[in-house]
């Protein structure tokens, strides 16, 4: 990824991500999040992560975010009039956030920055490469994910079902 591509993706990403948390209307926030996810997908493409990019759009932007939007609509939550009241927290959070980003910046700058990466193996980032890893070394996590999802399902049902 060259500098032009990087910046032309990074800057919109930051702006859009910022809009997620800044826009008063939850629906818009969610939509901005979807946008962020899209941009990220594009970003992933440039990083040779084709499969991930696809999943990002299908699963994340497609499935998960729809769920979010659905709940927002369901609860019909409007922007909260008291949104801006807690000034102390806001100031503290802003300072904390600024410190965090500054620290991350300073620390990550020091990270080893070999721009010339190791040569990519054949088929890097493809479905084949992905699934090969997934069913060999990552077999156990893959199976564990099933338990995780089972828990999530049971949990969601227990909590959300009106009358059990």
């Amino acid at each position: 990824m060259d500098h032009v591509t990087f910046f032309s993706l990074a800057l919109p990403l930051i702006v859009v991500a910022a809009m997620v948390i800044l826009h008063p209307n939850p629906v818009y926030s969610a939509l901005f999040l979807v946008l962020t996810l899209f941009l990220l997908a594009v970003y992933f493409l440039f990083l040779d992560a084709h499969m991930v990019a696809a999943l990002q759009i299908i699963v994340y932007a497609g499935a998960i975010m729809v769920l979010f939007l659905f709940v927002i609509m369901l609860l019909n939550v409007q922007s909260n009039p008291q949104e801006h009241q807690r000034k102390g927290l806001r100031t503290a959070a802003t300072i904390g956030g600024a410190l965090l980003v500054a620290e991350l910046f300073l620390l990550l700058r020091r990270a080893p920055n070999g721009a010339g990466q190791s040569p990519l193996p054949e088929g890097y980032g493809t479905v084949v490469a992905m699934s090969e890893r997934l069913f060999t070394d990552f077999l156990l996590p893959f199976e564990v994910t099933s338990v995780l999802l089972l828990v999530a399902v049971v949990g969601a049902v227990v909590l959300a079902k009106r009358h059990i």
Binding site: L89, A92, A93, G96, E103, L107
Partner: protein
């Protein structure tokens, strides 16, 4: 290597019957405690004096068997051994202690007998005799103790009995207080005594002599430096001022008159109060080493003699007069000790035991006859109603006044002479002593005249009841009167020479030779003038010198002074320590620590606002801090 072993002057003969001298009174104590109440007054009246008589007999046996230049020692059991410290429970009879034990048991027996009459109407007689027997035992332990610690045991023991007996009529708060005061003032002295004992022990220990035994101390005393000896002697003397009622610790003795009169006679006149004199005599070899210590003893003694005499002049309570007189006479003994006239001093101790016991018993007889009245202003004219008492009292007064030929004369004269001529004496000491002697004669005869002569001033009911005391009381009076008469002829000088060395014949100037006689005659004459020939004169004087009179009548306000300077500040300080320092400061700090914790808890609790975003914020702060650590 200048350490020299002094020759131990006495040959020790080990015997095992001395313990019985102490044991009999102790058995009497047990009898009185456990059986006295049950077996009744009669049994008590026989047993209590009986055991003392047995002690007297054993003392007498010991006295008779006393070898020419030796001592009898009875080691009963090893008492305390701790490291290099070793003390036996041992008793010793040598001329000094033999004389003392005879006086104690002899006078003690008489007073026990007297008490059976005096206490005839008291329901608690068993307890009384238990105390009295215990006192006898403790006193015997004191005089017979083979070492300084056993002496101290007796020393404390007699203090205890004094406490118990002064407060014998405990329902009277004042009497109980007097007992307490006696014990506490004595304890102050004892503290000094203990320190002296420690210093002596360790100083000798540093020379390789680990002992408190008198003979051993005597043998090695010369190894000690003069400074050390001075310190030891002065500390021990503090103890003596407490026990023997010298300035500044004499204050308890007048109050001690709250006890039954026989007790005053035995403890606060004849025996216990002389313990300090005995102790110094016992350790005379130490005192002789230190001019300073002797000087202090002499000055305190002389000062006390005069000081107490001045107070006695204006007292109106018959027992108080006698009490101050005792303090004064004890002053003479210390004066004697201080000028190195140990024999004279001990001699005076003995004669004083006779006549002062007699005086107290006489006073007791008077009080008994006057239905417990003690104020001499309400007496008068008793000489006809109580002839025996009067006669014996007169003998005693003459003896104490130093009337020539009676016991007091010899001993007092000896002391005054020595005060003048001894290398440790001075004309000033002599002068003070002589003036004091004159005053003694004056106040004693004032007492005699006011009490026994003239018209009775008692209320009719009391006057009606005035009677001579029973035989059990008058008999001891007579015996003591005889002793007061002839006591001066007991040749103690020679008897005690194994202890104090051969007496030397002092060269005494002409005037000094008759000082005692003169002083006593002047004193008696003055009293006669003031209280018999011109009874108003005393009152006139009193009015003319009302300030002085007040001062004397109030005993120089010493009690008040002590109260203001010591007692009150200490109590106030204690209260302050308790309520402010202990409760507020220390406990406040402790509780404050707990409260700080609690407050911190309340403060930290504010962290838990219940708001999930605040929690996230604290979370973020933590993360930022940790990242900051790595950045830094």
């Amino acid at each position: 290597m200048e350490h020299a072993h002094a020759i131990v002057p006495t040959v020790v003969h080990t015997v095992s019957y001395l313990r019985f001298i102490v044991l009999f009174p102790l058995l009497g104590v047990l009898f009185n405690i456990f059986l006295g109440q049950r077996l009744g007054r009669k049994a008590v009246n026989y047993v209590a004096p009986g055991v003392v008589l047995l002690s007297f007999l054993f003392s007498f046996v010991a006295f008779l068997r006393l070898p020419q230049d030796g001592a009898l020692v009875d080691t009963v059991w090893p008492w305390i051994t701790s490291g290099s410290f070793h003390v036996d429970f041992a008793l010793r009879v040598d001329p000094l202690s033999a004389m003392m034990s005879l006086v104690v048991t002899g006078v003690g027996f008489l007073i026990h007998v007297y008490s059976t009459g005096y206490m005839a109407h008291d329901e608690d007689v068993a307890r009384y005799f238990a105390y009295l027997n215990l006192f006898t035992a403790a006193m015997l332990l004191l005089v017979l103790g083979e070492n300084l610690l056993i002496l101290f045991v007796g020393w404390e023991g007699v203090g205890l009995c004094s406490y118990l007996l002064i407060g014998f009529w405990y329902t009277d708060d004042e009497k109980a207080s007097a007992g307490k005061k006696a014990f506490i003032v004595n304890r102050i002295g004892d503290a000094g005594f203990l320190l002296g004992l420690f210093l002596l022990f360790w100083s000798l220990g540093a020379k390789g002599v680990w002992t408190l035994s008198f003979s051993e101390i005597q043998a090695h005393a010369s190894a000690l430096s003069v400074e050390t000896v001075t310190a030891i002697c002065l500390l021990l003397f503090v103890g003596a001022t407490g026990k023997s009622a010298q300035i500044p610790l004499y204050v308890w003795l007048p109050d001690a008159m709250a006890g039954p009169t026989p007790v005053s006679a035995l403890i606060h006149a004849a025996t216990m109060v002389t313990a300090g004199v005995y102790m110094i005599a016992r350790l005379h070899f130490l005192y002789s080493m230190s001019t300073t210590a002797l000087a202090v003893v002499a000055i305190v003694g002389a000062a006390t003699a005069l000081f107490a005499a001045t107070i006695a002049v204006v007292q109106t309570d018959i027992k108080k007069v006698l009490a101050y007189s005792t303090v004064s006479q004890l002053g003479y003994m210390f004066l004697g000790l201080g000028v190195g006239a140990y024999t004279a001093s001990v001699f005076h101790l003995m004669t004083h035991a006779f006549f002062k016991a007699l005086l107290f018993l006489g006073a007791g007889s008077v009080i008994h006859g006057m239905s417990d009245e003690q104020d001499i202003r309400k007496m008068g004219g008793l000489k006809n109603k109580m002839p025996t008492t009067y006669g014996t009292f007169l003998v005693a007064c003459l003896a104490i006044a130093g009337f020539p030929g009676l016991s007091g004369f010899f001993s007092k004269d000896l002391i005054l002479e020595e005060a003048f001529v001894s290398e440790h004496g001075s004309w000033l000491l002599w002068l003070v002593g002589t003036v004091g002697a004159g005053m003694t004669a004056f106040y004693m005869f004032r007492l005699l005249f006011v009490t026994f002569w003239g018209e009775t001033r008692a209320s009719p009911e009391v006057a009606h009841h005035i009677h001579e005391s029973p035989v059990s009381m008058t008999c001891p009076l007579v015996v003591l009167a005889v002793l007061s008469l002839v006591g001066g002829y007991f040749t103690l000088l020679h008897f005690l020479s194994p202890i104090f060395g051969e007496p030397h014949e002092p060269h005494v100037p002409f005037l000094i030779r008759y000082d005692t006689t003169l002083a006593s005659l002047i004193g008696i004459g003055l009293a006669y003038q003031m209280y018999v020939r011109d009874p108003d004169m005393a009152e006139r004087f009193g009015r003319q010198f009302s300030g002085l009179h007040q001062l004397l009548a109030n005993k120089y306000y010493v009690d008040e002074l002590y109260d203001a300077v010591i007692v009150r500040p200490v109590v106030a300080a204690s209260n302050w320590l308790w309520q402010v320092w202990d409760t507020l400061v220390i406990d406040g700090t402790v509780n404050g620590a707990a409260q700080t914790m609690d407050a911190s808890g309340l403060l930290l609790r504010l962290w838990q606002t219940g708001n999930v975003q605040n929690y996230a914020l604290s979370f973020l702060i933590g993360a930022v801090a940790i990242l900051g650590y790595y950045l830094w």
